[in-house]
């Protein structure tokens, strides 16, 4: 309360205003001095720093431009390659179609050849089996017929036939000699 009353006095306010003006003035001088000193001593390093920053930024910009160009080139190359790939794909597909066609023809030919061979072998086998069966049948029939004939002859051959056979045997010996090799065979 007392302080507020003291500070509200006009002398105090005028005193404060003067002090403030001087303070502002010397602060301004300080700032000016700092600026002069800063310009004096920091100008070159600051400019150098700024130059470096500018150069760095410029380098980045150039690098970015170069990268962009490179990317565009790559893009163009990729697009070109993509177009080439399409052509390659088409070429490969045509080649594959040709190969498939050739292979299919080869397989078809081989299959036809194998089928023809199998058919021929089957035919030969069939003929062989038929011939074999016919020969077996013939053998059985001949054996049966001869056996039946033998049985019949056993019953029918009598003394007269035996005599005739012996006479025939004796006749077959006429004019032959034991030294003849042929005599070892059946008479």
């Amino acid at each position: 309360m007392f302080v507020e009353e003291y500070e509200s006095r006009p002398e105090f306010i005028a005193q404060e205003r003067r002090i403030a003006i001087y303070q502002y003035f010397f602060e301004f001088l300080n700032v000016l001095a700092i600026v002069v000193l800063a310009v004096r001593f920091l100008r070159k390093p600051l400019l150098a720093f700024l130059d470096r920053q500018v150069a760095a930024i410029r380098g980045r910009i150039e690098k970015a431009a170069s990268a962009r160009r490179e990317a565009e080139e790559r893009k163009a190359a990729a697009e070109a390659k993509l177009e080439g790939l399409e052509a390659e794909k088409e070429r490969v597909r045509e080649q594959a179609d040709e190969l498939i066609e050739l292979e299919a023809a080869r397989i078809r030919e081989a299959t036809e050849h194998a089928i023809a061979q199998i058919v021929q072998e089957t035919e030969e086998r069939k003929h062989m089996e038929l011939h074999h069966a016919a020969m077996q049948l013939k053998q059985e029939l001949v054996t049966q017929a001869v056996d039946q004939l033998a049985e019949r002859l056993k019953a029918e051959v009598g003394h007269s036939q035996q005599t005739a056979l012996i006479e025939e045997f004796v006749r077959s010996l006429e004019g032959r000699r034991m030294s003849d090799p042929a005599e070892s065979a059946n008479g």
Partner: protein
């Protein structure tokens, strides 16, 4: 094999003991008869071949058998010797070997004729003559009967076979028919 060699030696000795060719055939017949008796009469066989029976007793049995057969003297001597030496069981082999000795001495061949039915005397004689002419020397004919021949005869002489049987003819016909190739098979 050893028995065969021994039998051949005894047969040769018997042949040497009969210098007269006329005595060979009767001796051979007697030896074969004795072999047959010995083989078919088992009592006689077991009696003569039994070493447990006294040799003199067996000798007496053998002498009686030979006397009844009226065997020639060399055959009796051989039989007695075989009995004494314990080789009486070799009689059949000696008989066969002696037949060969006799055949050689008489310059003849052994021939066997097998026929489907028994041969008559005339047929035997005819065959014997023809086979002798065929062989070029005398033939001693043995006749067998085999009904399986069906008809005809089969002669075996000097290692050769002359087959005139119906069985063989039928077999030849059968083989010829079987071996004949079939006409090519045509499928309908």
């Amino acid at each position: 094999m050893a028995d065969l060699l021994i039998a051949q030696r005894y047969a040769a000795a018997l042949g040497a003991a009969i210098p007269d060719k006329g005595g060979l055939e009767p001796a051979s017949q007697a030896l074969l008869e004795l072999s047959e008796v010995f083989a078919t009469h088992h009592d006689l066989h077991s009696c003569l071949a039994n070493p447990a029976i006294d040799v003199d007793a067996r000798m007496q049995v053998l002498a009686e058998a030979l006397r009844r057969m009226d065997a020639p003297r060399p055959v009796r001597s051989l039989a007695s010797e075989l009995l004494r030496r314990g080789r009486i069981a070799l009689l059949p082999e000696i008989g066969e070997a002696f037949r060969k000795v006799v055949d050689e001495r008489l310059d003849r061949l052994a021939a066997t004729v097998t026929s489907a039915m028994p041969l008559s005397g005339t047929q035997e004689l005819l065959l014997s003559e023809r086979l002798a002419k065929f062989a070029g020397k005398a033939v001693r004919l043995r006749c067998d009967v085999d009904p399986e021949l069906i008809g005809g005869v089969v002669a075996r002489i000097g290692g050769q076979v002359i087959d005139g049987s119906l069985r063989t003819r039928l077999a030849n016909i059968r083989n010829a028919l079987i071996e004949e190739e079939l006409s090519p098979f045509t499928e309908e």
